[in-house]
Symmetry: C2
Subunit: 405 residues, 2 copies
């Protein structure tokens, strides 16, 4: 597998996209995009576990049922959530309008809205916007689409890989958004992956759901999850390679590429957490079970006190121990170690559940980097898991207390 | 039941206490206290659910087993947690020293340490301190004791009530500490209640454990829980009233007093959350079950985004809806209302899951008060629950990022 920099979703065979500004965002930034596959694609999706689901998600949960999707329309700046019956009608109108312009049955289109909750969709702006976005579909519109799905994000999030099936190249690329209300069990995030691989619906669903568990469901910015979270993959088979089969080596190659793409997008979301200054990676190793490792990694990456400590580049090993302790993981409470990973070595903070005599300055240096990697070694098994979060700083509070309004 | 202001634990018959500065805290503040009952007391306690438990708690879990306790020694400034085998030996030495000076068997004494984690107890300071604290025990030392258990708290937390059993007065009083790492399932808190009521061990345990569920386990400051959390009640029977019996009216009176004392102390802890400026009370009403109401109330009071919004006195009804949605509670997602309670009325924010046309200025006024009371009406049953939290502000981040070090 190769990572292709400077490539994005429209470099995948058969994928067209566009991203325009139709006026939902008041600052003139892009806010509407269409992603279109020339070939009907096998599709899999996961949705927020929040009981309150936005109108577009309720439509998608129906449309994805038969496993095939042709296009997707996404607006940012307005989540069309908590908008009641009118919200559901508006989502249907947007979907039908896009389907009409693309000459597709509405049930082959997905819809996503992200942004402010509780405000009616400005239909008088979106409907003409859809026509424009459809007319601008092109094989170089991927980055514009990636821009058009952002809300409070500070950067475009895309990743592209290439791998071989039958000796022929297959491409997979994804775009994502999300920076606050980010937590395990799906966060205020949206992720769209496209690939020209040829794969069955059953296999795509199996791989995608499993991969989401170890990527988007292992990140936390603030412990809140939203009404609009969704991740989706379209596989259009346009690479012309043979069908990926469960019994095949190609299966492992596809799964590895998918995990890489989802994990990289998840990390980009975690790193772009509102007000954050660094990415926090929590690796739990030598745990009794994968479940124990996951619980512990998520708990540490989600701890408000750990996040605050990371913001101040302060070695809050006591807070880390507390968050391990309340994680629900099973482990030997007297025999675990904690390290921070450096460039070529690891620096020990805790040995057998007690403070280790570490060098304050060296620790401070490692905690001041863009990426802080913690290792929690349970010394009690063979299993591991990784979770990602970010630090929580003064800017997070200011943004979410609306102090500048 | 009467609330007695200006009374504290040593106003309960048979209770002596002292609080001194022995030098654990570098700023000269009180850091060691003894609470002693002239009569052996029936006792009940609950401990942190954190898997990593501090040394003193492991001792207490043994000592409380037979249900009788005579005294308690508490130090602040050092939690004696994550201190390994030496920590356990030190806790035993402290306990044995206190027991010796009080002429009690060690198993009739409880011990608690609260403060910094991972630092060895300064035994050369504490051991002489114990002798001094024992010699200063008096029937007016309650407030000094209440001061000596504090860590980053900004205020002493005490509450006292009087009620009648057989027409005779019975008193109940509590002291508590806690302001960060506060979350359901016991937080970095310590609460001690004393009463001169006469009650069996079984009944005291039953009432206390149930009361803790609706008080200390319904508060959240930051979602973190610690290694040292503990709540304990001693009932020494010194009021001379007859034994409270399950079949009796006195049972209800005692239970009501206990719930009041625990709830008031829990609210004082939530209000004194690190860097907080206001108390947040979340009332869920007309829920399908008590469990649904509790889940929802805890979730809203624990949401980082809701806490940030409260800090900015901004009506973040969207964040409230999200935290209701991911709470795990069962409810009709299209039919719930949200209100803020005013002095004589309530102001509606959300009607049937959609934004209600509220007056921004009136809402801002209510959100700017010391106490913000939210009401979430599920309109779907007869059950209710209340949780408490506080806002999360810039000072919380600064304190926990150690920005001033």
């Amino acid at each position: 597998m190769k990572v292709l920099t400077n490539k994005t979703i429209t470099d995948v065979t058969g994928i067209l996209a566009s991203g325009i500004s139709c006026g939902i965002k008041k600052d003139g930034k892009k806010d509407l995009c269409i992603i279109y596959s020339r070939y009907k694609a096998v599709a899999a999706a996961v949705f927020t576990k929040n009981k309150v689901k936005a109108a577009p998600l309720l439509i998608n949960m129906e449309n994805i049922k038969d496993g095939y999707i042709h296009a997707m329309i996404v607006n940012s700046g307005n989540a069309n959530s908590c908008t009641g019956e009118d919200g559901r009608l508006n989502a249907t109108k947007v979907l039908e309008s896009a389907a009409k312009h693309l000459s597709l049955p509405p049930k082959e289109v997905l819809i996503q809205s992200t942004g402010a909750i509780g405000i009616p969709l400005p239909m008088e702006i979106i409907i003409p916007g859809i026509e424009k976005a459809c007319s601008e579909l092109s094989d170089h519109g991927g980055l514009a689409a990636a821009e058009a799905i952002l809300t409070t994000d500070t950067s475009v999030k895309t990743i592209t890989v290439e791998f071989e099936i039958d000796g022929k190249p297959v491409m997979m690329s994804g775009i994502a958004k999300g920076s606050t209300m980010i937590h395990p069990d799906m966060a205020t995030m949206f992720s769209l992956i496209v690939t020209d691989a040829s794969i069955s619906s059953d296999l795509l669903n199996k791989f995608f759901k499993s991969s989401v568990e170890s990527s988007y469901n292992m990140i936390s910015v603030d412990g809140d999850t939203s009404t609009n979270d969704m991740a989706v993959i379209l596989a259009n088979g346009a690479s012309g390679t043979s069908l990926i089969d469960n019994s095949d080596e190609s299966c492992k190659i596809f799964d590895a590429a998918l995990n890489y793409v989802n994990t990289e997008l998840a990390k980009k979301i975690a790193k772009d957490g509102e007000g954050s200054t660094k990415l926090l990676e929590v690796n739990v190793v030598n745990a009794r079970s994968v479940e124990d490792a996951k619980k512990c990694a998520k708990s540490v990456a989600s701890s408000t006190l750990v996040k605050c400590g990371m913001y101040g580049s302060y070695p809050v090993w006591q807070d880390i121990i507390c968050s391990i302790g309340y994680s629900g993981a099973n482990f030997d409470t007297a025999a675990f170690d904690i390290f921070i990973k450096g460039d070529n070595s690891k620096l020990q903070l805790v040995k057998d559940a007690c403070e280790y005599d570490f060098d304050d300055n060296k620790v401070k240096d490692l905690l001041s980097k863009d990426l802080v990697e913690l290792i929690i070694d349970f010394k009690d098994g063979q299993n591991f898991a990784t979770a990602w979060g970010c630090d929580m700083g003064v800017d997070y509070i200011k943004a979410n207390a609306y102090l500048n309004i």
